[in-house]
Amino acid sequence: MGTTVPPDLLPGTLELLILKSLAAGSHHGYGIAQRLKTVSDDLLHVGESSLYPALQRLLLKGWVKAEWGASENNRRARYYRLTGTGRKQLARERAEFDRLIVAIQKVLNAT
């Protein structure tokens, strides 16, 4: 069984993951969750109750935009798309995250 996001995820990580998954192209909420699941080899199960508030936070920040469109099975679905500032934010957070991971590993590897 995979990890359900977010118990104990570092704050902001879910947003980072969503941004990253949208970098490949716009998608609806379900698609984002699916993408995160498959890409993480079924490790990350994003709880929908954290996904939608997170998406709203991203909307509020202006990093994503939402538009209604038709889904693959021709139903109305809300598609999220990365904005310019969102893309910049992704790059910034990514660098930040890398540094943090390195730092954490250093701490863990210290004797």
Binding site: E48, S49, Y52, P53, G62, S71, R75, A77, R78
Partner: protein, 874 residues
């Protein structure tokens, strides 16, 4: 900031937000279910599983929503919506509370608007709070006469004042060749007068110190109204000349529109142009003075410095300065100042009564609310949350009341403006009964403050109730601690109402005293006329006397004029106060400070006013000639100076305390007149009437005629016929002067009374409501009592007795407060003691009666309850 804009945009499309989110989540769930289905799971189980994984949809939606709206705000809007629903459900309660408050807030705002316009906004000059005037330091004095030397001393020896200016208000005749002369009000001023208020002419130049020197070329500065009305706003006026009195002066400047400092001036000349100017005599006090404080210097500091200086001067120059003292008072601190402030106090009392009232209603209702609150508490609401909910309800009530009150106050201000129309205020008051940001802030402040004032006690009381008790038992049968609070509020309500009533009663008594005393003379058919001879032509006292006699003689032949006379000052408009000394051999007590209004009158004065002398005789044409000295005094004078001794034949001497160069006048008393009011507003109004001949200073004609309108035309043409170059002006009914002098008591007395009556009604309504409510609350109990055989009278007594201690305490405290009120309004009282027993007892009785009625009526209803109905009452 960008976040904020997005938030707002989102909130505008709020309805769509929920739908969108719901649709999006439904889509998510469907997709998840379908996926499971594809994996071969039973469709129903798949849906259930999808739902399970999704978690609480409602919670997710809430959290998504919380991203956009802060939690506190959402709770707040829920509270507000709930409060609105509650208000709507209890419409009768809401209407009572809102109208009570709206009335009080409306009145407060009316008074505040007026006070703001008259006092708070102050002079329309750069530093209004630093402009001061001088008085003699006695409590009600507004005026101090100073000499040129006094001000020179002050300038030299004080550091508190950035500028000191002096002025002498007068009337100028202005004229040019080929145009009829005008009379305008203006002042002889020191050249510093405009720098004092940091104002400059809009055209031309300010006065220079050289203009004030002896022998300086005559110059004049015009007021805006003279410039526009007489010179048609001529832009090239500066440098031209005009005739002012009998000199030709160069116009050097024009002051901006609306500027009429220091009094109500339209023309200014330097003191050097003043005939009879005494620069060196310390005891010729021809001027009044004002000053501007140095920045950062307080009024009390300046006061202390000035007091020390006048003290020193009194020691150095005992002959002239022994009794001369000066004090600083704010320029806008005019006679009406305490009036407005006490009005403000009165209206605050009304507001407090209204708040106590609403508070009491809320408390009475709290029985009904307590179960709801207990449920909230049981469900986990914190005490703060409950109090907040209740306070929000109060603020909402107050806000609605405030909005209504604001509308009311617009009408109130209109009514005030109407009631004082035609009254001559100091120039900076006029036409400024407008509301500004300060008034708006005041209204908002009052709403919030009153909401807390009336809402806090019930809120704390309700939130404190024990959850278990309230849920378990029928809260309506107990007389809990809410009744203690209700009694406290009742006491406050009655106390404030009584204070207001007494204040209003004292004001009304003064007002009636003035009106009654003004009936002594018959002013209805009398008019005043001012005469302005060309100054060059009439210079000596004899010439002036001859002029008046010529005009009187001519007018007396006209049958349309019933009586004609001359007086230095007609009744009601004031007169200089002269020092009075009685013949020393008979004087009972030596008191050099005793003064009386000094008036000179001609033959026929009392007939013109339709006044009969109480004793003695009126003046004849010979009176005032050497060897024929005579003086008439009024009854007030007799009471003050003679007591029971017969004054006829006694000698008195009157002297001008501000100008020792004027010879004092001594004469035997030949007559006693009734007390015709001379001063504006005075408790004691002693007057000495000397014959015109004894001191022919300039005066006014008094004319009695059944038709004042045609009399005005007759006077104009008759005077023109014999004295073509005399300016005839200020033809005014004596009643207008009278009204000018007593409008304050009329307007303020009426306002006080309106407030007091409203406070009385409000407290009666409050007491009634609270008693009636407790009757409803205890219906079941009453039913039981009556079923067990209690008599109707006992049931009634049950309610009446409960309220008696509160009523008694309220009346007692109110009486105490009423003494304070009396002291506060003392300066405005005329012929009325601030502790007037009749006022206190009758109004106390009135309030007690009304309060008792408000208790007895609902109690009576309780005693008529049918026990069978009552027991079924839920």
């Amino acid at each position: 900031m960008r976040d904020f804009i997005r938030r707002i945009r989102q909130l505008i499309h709020w309805r769509r937000f929920d739908d969108d989110l719901a649709e999006e989540m439904a889509f998510h769930r469907d997709m998840a279910a379908r996926e499971r289905e594809e994996q071969g799971i039973d469709p129903n189980a798949a849906v259930r599983a999808a739902h399970r994984t999704f978690g609480s949809g409602a919670l997710a939606a809430d959290q998504a929503r919380d991203v956009w709206i802060p939690v506190g705000l959402r709770d707040l809007s829920a509270d507000v919506r709930f409060a609105f629903r509650l208000m709507w459900r209890e419409r009768a309660f809401t209407a009572t509370a809102v109208s009570t408050l709206a009335l009080a807030i409306g009145m407060s705002n009316t008074v505040y608007t007026v006070v703001n316009a008259m006092i708070l906004r102050g002079l329309p000059v750069a530093h209004p709070d630093r402009i001061v005037m001088f008085n003699d330091g006695s409590p009600n004095s507004q005026v101090l006469n100073v000499s040129y030397r006094d001000v020179e001393d002050w300038r030299a020896a004080t550091a508190s004042f950035a500028e000191i200016g002096l002025f002498s208000n007068t009337m100028f005749t202005i004229g040019d060749e080929g145009r009829s002369p005008d009379v305008v009000g203006g002042s002889y001023v020191s050249t510093s007068i405009f720098r004092l208020v940091e104002e400059r002419p809009m055209l031309g130049r300010d006065f220079l110190p050289a203009d004030e020197q002896a022998g300086a070329a005559p110059v004049v500065i015009l007021g805006y109204s003279v410039w526009t009305s007489r010179y048609g706003s001529d832009p090239s006026i500066v440098g031209k000349t005009m005739r002012v009195n009998n000199t030709r002066a160069t116009i050097i400047g024009v002051m901006p529109r609306g500027f009429r400092f220091p009094l109500v001036d339209d023309l200014w000349l330097p003191v050097s142009a003043m005939s009879g100017l005494q620069r060196d005599k310390r005891d010729v006090r021809q001027f009044r003075a004002g000053g501007r404080l140095v920045e950062g210097i307080s009024m009390s500091h300046a006061q202390a410095e000035l007091a020390a200086l006048t003290e020193r001067l009194a020691r150095e120059y005992p002959a002239t300065n022994r009794n001369f003292r000066a004090a600083v008072l704010p320029y806008t601190g005019t006679a009406t100042h305490p009036m407005f402030l006490s009005l403000f106090g009165a209206v605050s009392c009304v507001l407090l009564v209204a708040c106590a009232n609403v508070s009491n209603l809320l408390l009475a209702r709290s029985g009904r609310r307590s179960r709801e609150i207990s449920v909230r508490t049981a469900l986990g609401a914190t005490r703060w949350r409950v109090v907040r909910q209740l306070l929000i309800e109060s603020v909402l009530l107050a806000s609605i009341a405030g909005a209504l009150g604001f509308i009311l106050s617009v009408a109130g201000v209109k009514a005030f403006a109407y009631s004082v129309r035609g009254i001559n205020f100091a120039y900076w008051y006029n036409e400024r009964w407008t509301m500004d940001h300060r008034v708006f802030a005041f209204v908002c402040g009052v709403c919030v403050a009153s909401a807390f004032l009336f809402g806090l006690v019930p809120a704390i009381h309700l939130s404190r109730r024990d959850v278990h008790d309230a849920i378990k038992q029928d809260a309506r049968t107990t007389a809990g601690p809410s009744h203690v609070w209700a009694d406290v509020l009742l006491v406050a309500e009655i106390g404030f109402a009584l204070m207001l009533l007494v204040g209003a009663g004292l004001m009304m008594r003064s007002f009636l005293a003035i009106y009654r005393s003004d009936l002594t003379a018959d002013a209805s058919q009398v008019m005043t006329v001012s005469l302005r001879p060309p100054p060059a032509k009439v210079t000596t006292a004899d010439e002036r006397l001859a002029m008046y006699r010529r005009i009187e003689a001519r007018l007396r032949t006209n049958p349309a004029l019933a009586a004609v006379t001359v007086a230095s000052a007609p009744p009601y408009i004031g007169a200089p106060m002269w020092r009075i000394e009685l013949d020393r051999r008979r004087q009972t007590s030596e008191d050099p400070t005793r003064r009386a209004s000094f008036v000179t009158i001609d033959r026929g004065y009392f007939e013109t006013l339709d006044v009969r002398l109480v004793r003695g005789r009126p003046f004849t044409d010979d009176d005032g000639m050497p060897g024929h000295e005579a003086v008439i005094v009024n009854q007030q004078f007799v009471t003050m100076f003679f007591g029971d001794v017969d004054p006829i034949g006694q000698r008195l001497c009157a002297s001008n305390p501000d100008n020792r160069t004027v010879a004092s006048l001594c004469a035997p008393i030949v007559g006693v007149s009734p007390t015709v009011r001379q001063q504006f507003m005075s408790d004691l109004d002693p007057v000495v009437y000397f014959p015109l001949r004894a001191n022919p200073i300039s005066g006014m004609l008094l004319i009695r005629s059944a038709d004042l309108h045609s009399a005005a035309t007759i006077v104009r043409s008759e005077v023109q016929a014999i004295e073509p170059d005399i300016v005839v002006w200020r033809l005014m009914p004596l009643e207008t002067w009278m009204e000018q002098s007593r409008w304050g008591h009329r307007v303020f007395g009426t306002m006080f009374t309106v407030f007091a009556v409203i406070a009385l009604v409000l407290s009666a309504v409050g007491i009634y409501a609270v008693t009636a409510y407790s009757v409803v609350e205890r219906t079941k109990e009453i039913g039981i009592r009556m079923a067990l055989g209690a008599r109707a009278s006992r049931v009634m007594a049950l309610f009446v007795r409960r309220k008696l201690p509160a009523l008694g305490a309220g009346l007692a405290l109110g009486m105490g407060g009423a003494f304070g009120v009396g002291r506060l309004v003392r300066s405005m009282l005329v012929q009325t003691s601030p502790t007037d027993a009749l006022t206190l007892t009758s109004l106390g009785g009135l309030l007690a009666g009304v309060a008792m009625l408000a208790v007895v009526v609902p109690a009576l209803r309780a005693s008529r309850i049918d026990p069978t109905v009552a027991l079924r009452h839920e």
